[in-house]
Amino acid sequence: MTGAPLLDVRELTVRYPGRRRRSQPVLAVDRVSFEVRAGETLALVGESGCGKSSTAATVLQLRRPQGGEVRFEGVDLTTLDEPALRGLRPALQPVFQDPYGSLSPRLRIRDAIAEPLRVQGRWDPVTGPARVTELLDLVQLDHSLADRRPHELSGGQCQRVGIARALASEPRLLVLDEPVSALDPSIRAGVMNLLIDLQDELGLGYLFICHDLRLVHQVAHRIAVMQHGRIVESGDTDQIFTSPAAAYTQALLTAVPPLATPADDRPVPRAAPTPSGLPHDLGLRP
């Protein structure tokens, strides 16, 4: 994780026009700077409306910023026109929150995975099918799913297809915008582990947009905390969690509901014990 950063964002600024005539423009992202290195996960955390998704959209150049630089492998993407960007897009790919919404309901899974290659003009009818199979293996999906359509898949399987699509063009950076928050809890960890394994295997850089601080604590190398369009604090994950400096970060951390563990000897409030020690309000079935 040394050397020049993969992604180097400097003084990024995004303004939206005000909703009414003559109202002030909204400053969604305010001079935000951060770096992501190869093989590293930077988590961007904050509440809804703090500007994290605007930042992600601007890094992907799906939205052009009003100021600042987005340097990807040394090239400032904000200075490139659309045709020049198209040459670089395969290298930085998004994974979105809604696994169904990001797949066409009409495409079979094998075609959904092949689509990015076709669009980029890199589809080879001879080697293509093998590449699709390889991508299915990479995201640990059974080959039999290739001929299904999205509605026949579970949310977790759809998200794996979304990841396979992102990987099809051999990217170096993934922008993960809440990639598991729409998934069922029991499959969230599996998809997250897949992303971690892929990172270790392929050396990908991740810009990880997430509001689940527990998840961030476990998987991110570094964290940047956003509030009102600005980064109020950033640093190594352990440092942010053990000694948050900004008052806002402290507030965010205390909003994480406490989860009692057997190791804790905290008294758990309420739920008074009954004399018998038995559950008193769930009818006991014989």
Binding site: E47, S48, S154, G155, G156, Q157, D184, P185, S186, I187, R188, A189, G190, M192, N193, I196, D197, H211, D212, L213, R214, L215, H217, Q218, V219, D238, A251, L252, A255, V256, P257, P258, L259, A260, T261, P262, V268, R270, A271, G277, L278, P279, H280, D281, L282, G283, L284, R285
Partner: protein, 331 residues
């Protein structure tokens, strides 16, 4: 004391193109006055259909059987007229999507005042006062002014507060909240859950909190009922079920929520596989194909909830696997 809400052997079946899909399969539980019960499950676990069954909101292609008693009165088979007597009066409802219950063309205060007048027959002025007080109580700043504006002028968190105000404005005995915080970020989630517990503490309103977020339950519920594939997996006091879960499914869910001791790996403890589709349930225990402890019995016979260690657990292995071994399952 009789329970406020008592459900016995509830079955909910959805008729679809591929035949009948069993979505809730023999669920029993009860809620006492002033108690907060969290019903936790993943999509397809049947938790929302259970909530709809209690509220009489099941659609025409959905059939239910079993007993749903509210304050001693049997609701199964009741007419919509009977439900209308209860909903909004004694039974409040907080849906996930606030905009689905707020009319876009009337100011929020008017909608609340209308609810008050239709139930309590108060004068316009008195009903307006009650509406403003309700908005104030759920923490909407400058309530008398905000009562005059439309839902689209509210932020997401304020809308969800307004819906809670709507659910509580006629002082119901029970509020059923179906994923009330799912669309909100963590700080708003904590505030909304705090609002529901505050309501219980002050007014003694019982709450059924339907959620897929086990972590949200920890700080707000008294009891928790964990569902999987339409059945109860484990239920009991929060301080037992969440601290020392006894069913492998609950152990797995909780493992992914707990911070790891000294992060030696970034990988998360994960449950293998995915939940079954209700139209193709495996034989025996529905969790068996994903369960690290499954034995032949699990794959053949569906377990019934039985009492272990102060909570109900539906697991054939609950009696013979020591707690220490359970805790190591997903390490």
């Amino acid at each position: 004391m009789t329970a406020l809400l008592e459900i016995r052997d509830l079955h909910v079946t959805v008729r679809g193109q591929g035949g009948e899909v069993p979505a809730v399969r023999g669920l029993s539980f009860q809620v006492d006055r002033g108690q907060i019960l969290a019903v936790v499950g993943e999509s397809g676990a049947g938790k929302s259909l259970t909530a709809q069954a209690v509220l009489g909101l099941l659609g025409p292609s959905v059939a239910m059987s079993g007993s749903v008693k509210f304050d001693g009165r049997e609701l199964a088979g009741a007419t919509q007229a009977a439900y209308r007597e209860l909903r909004g009066r004694r039974l409040g409802f907080v849906p996930q999507d606030a905009l689905s219950v707020l009319s876009p063309v009337h100011p929020v205060g008017e909608q609340l005042a209308l609810a008050v007048r239709s139930v309590q027959g108060a004068s316009r002025a008195a009903a307006w006062d009650v509406a403003v007080r309700a908005l104030d109580r759920v923490g909407i700043p400058d309530a008398s002014r905000r009562a005059r504006v439309y839902p689209h002028e509210y932020s997401g968190g304020m809308r969800q507060r307004a819906v809670i105000a709507m659910a509580m404005v006629n002082q119901p005995d029970l509020i059923i909240a179906d994923e009330p915080t799912t669309a909100l970020d963590p700080r708003l989630q904590a505030q909304i859950l705090g609002l529901l517990t505050g309501l219980r503490d002050e007014s003694g309103t019982a709450v059924v909190l339907v959620t897929h977020d086990l972590a949200a339950v920890a700080g707000s519920a008294d009891r928790v009922l964990i569902m999987y594939a339409g059945r109860e997996v484990e239920s009991g006091p929060v301080d037992r079920v969440l601290v020392t879960p006894r069913s492998p499914y609950a152990v797995g869910l909780l493992a992914s929520l707990k911070p790891m001791p000294a992060a030696t790996t970034r990988r998360l403890p994960a449950i293998a596989g995915a939940p079954p589709r209700p139209q193709s349930l495996p034989p025996g225990c529905a969790f068996a194909p994903r369960c690290p402890l499954a034995v032949d019995e699990c794959r053949a016979i569906e377990p019934e909830p039985l009492l272990y260690d102060g909570r109900l657990v539906a697991c054939h292995r609950a009696g013979d696997v020591p707690a220490a071994e359970l805790a190591e399952l997903y390490r």
